[in-house]
């Protein structure tokens, strides 16, 4: 979701910058269609007359101030969205008798992480629960041990650590995203 927002806003910003630059460059090259804001290479970017054109209108300053405030608030929200961690704090466990229970997300993360780290080939597992309370998803960052078999490690993570967590939380599915990293450890020779 954040990815889509970021990409749309970055794309719009990029198009606006590109378009503005292109118009100025073309005007400087004396390519001036009628609709353009400048009359030719000799025109200035923003003349005093243009800048003060609406200054005496009653609506001008409220519009400028309101617009800038809106831009600033949206940009502020955009900034905060980057910093916020999208971690899920609790998972809703359906116990089947109409009485739900809340499972702390951190507890679930710790259990999956501990079980993953006990698997061969995995040195460290960082687990993050994301998504919604009723439909959580899980993100795992694995640090591979020397001599690890990545495919096997991922398979066992999925069929053991994550599967146990899914079953014990009573979830139908627990979509998983795994990223494997490795320390640049010194080579070991088996001979």
């Amino acid at each position: 979701m954040l990815s889509i927002v970021n990409r749309v806003l970055l794309g719009l910003l990029g198009l606006a910058l590109f378009g503005a630059g292109l118009v100025v460059v073309l005007t400087a090259l004396d390519v001036v269609p009628a609709a353009w804001p400048w009359s030719g290479p000799d025109d200035v970017l923003l003349s005093d007359a243009d800048r003060t054109r609406w200054r005496d209108e009653g609506w001008w300053w409220p519009v400028v101030i309101g617009g800038l405030a809106l831009v600033m608030l949206l940009a502020l929200w955009w900034t905060v969205a980057q910093l916020r961690q999208q971690r899920l704090s609790e998972v809703l466990v359906d116990s089947g008798d109409g009485v739900g229970a809340l499972l702390r997300g951190r507890a679930m993360e710790d259990v999956v992480s501990a079980e993953a780290e006990s698997l061969p080939g995995i040195d460290e597992a960082r687990v993050t629960l994301v998504g919604r309370r009723t439909q959580p998803r899980i993100r795992v960052g694995l640090l591979l041990a020397p001599q690890a078999q990545p495919d096997v490690a991922v398979h066992r993570l999925r069929t053991e650590a994550v599967e146990h967590a899914r079953a014990s939380a009573g979830l139908a599915v627990l979509p998983t995203e795994v990223r494997l990293r490795s320390t640049k450890h010194a080579p070991e020779r088996l001979s």
């Binding site: 954040l2 990815s3 970055l10 100025v24 200035v44 101030i65 980057q82 591979l144 078999q149 627990l174």
Partner: protein
């Protein structure tokens, strides 16, 4: 995360190699010893062996790339917007409150009213804006995360896995070092090709290379990548001292 380099390289030499580096007064390398005297001349002269193969497409399957969130460029753009809008807003409001406009704003207004569009600095700024805009559009539409290779799904719709190229290189390097005769090896994992360059201090180069081919080929298959990279193996003799 920046992934500007095209390949992650892991270089390694085993302990033996570490101990034989540096000037020594040892005899010449053993491969020039008596038993090979009977071999043809070109056999003795051979100092390198290389092969590459391209994988069949049958092994590859369509798996979506990982898409970066573009957190860093978005945060930078957002902070710049906040600062620019905030400073301008502050000054406009303070002028509304009967205080004089800030110096930067008066200067900016003067410059904008004086400089023609064919002014060098204006054109330069416009070109810079175009390039920056183009780059932002590229960031917006490309997946990024070039360092993360997607792995096969194993018929599991709820699992997505990816391995960093550096990690894949470490795994392959560890396997390559198990081939006897290999003294040191350098494995670089690109997005389409795995390159291995090894130094073999004993055994026939072609034999070592064939072993490396088999071991690395198997290693690449066991990585479980969605797209099987091609493999290029080179084996050299270490430089004579």
């Amino acid at each position: 995360m920046t992934n500007d380099t095209d390949e992650d390289v892991v270089e390694a030499a085993d302990d033996e190699a570490a101990t034989v580096s540096g000037p020594t007064l040892e005899k010449p390398a053993p491969e020039k010893s008596a038993p090979e005297e009977s071999a043809p001349e070109n056999r003795l002269a051979k100092t390198a062996s290389a092969v590459r193969y391209e994988p069949g497409d049958a092994e590859s399957e369509a798996v979506r790339r990982f898409w970066s969130v573009r957190r860093v460029p978005a945060a930078l753009a957002a902070v710049l917007l906040v600062v620019a809008a905030g400073v301008l807003l502050y000054d406009i409001v303070s002028v509304r409150a009967e205080r004089p406009a800030a110096a930067w704003r008066r200067e900016l207004a003067d410059e904008l009213a004086v400089r023609g569009l064919d002014d060098a600095s204006v054109v330069l700024a416009a070109v810079a804006a175009m390039l920056l805009g183009l780059w932002l559009v590229v960031l917006a539409v490309t997946p990024g995360l070039r360092g993360l290779l997607p792995m096969r799904r194993r018929d599991d719709a709820f699992l997505r896995a990816g391995i960093e190229r550096g990690a894949a290189a470490v795994v392959l390097r560890d396997r390559a070092l198990e081939v006897s005769g290999v003294r040191s090896v350098r494995v670089s994992v690109g997005r389409r090709r795995v390159r291995a360059s090894a130094q073999a201090h004993f055994r026939d180069l072609d034999v070592v290379r064939a072993d490396l081919d088999a071991v690395l080929g198997e290693g690449i298959r066991e990585l479980g990548l969605a797209r099987q990279p091609a493999l290029a193996v080179q084996v050299h003799r270490p430089a004579r001292r």
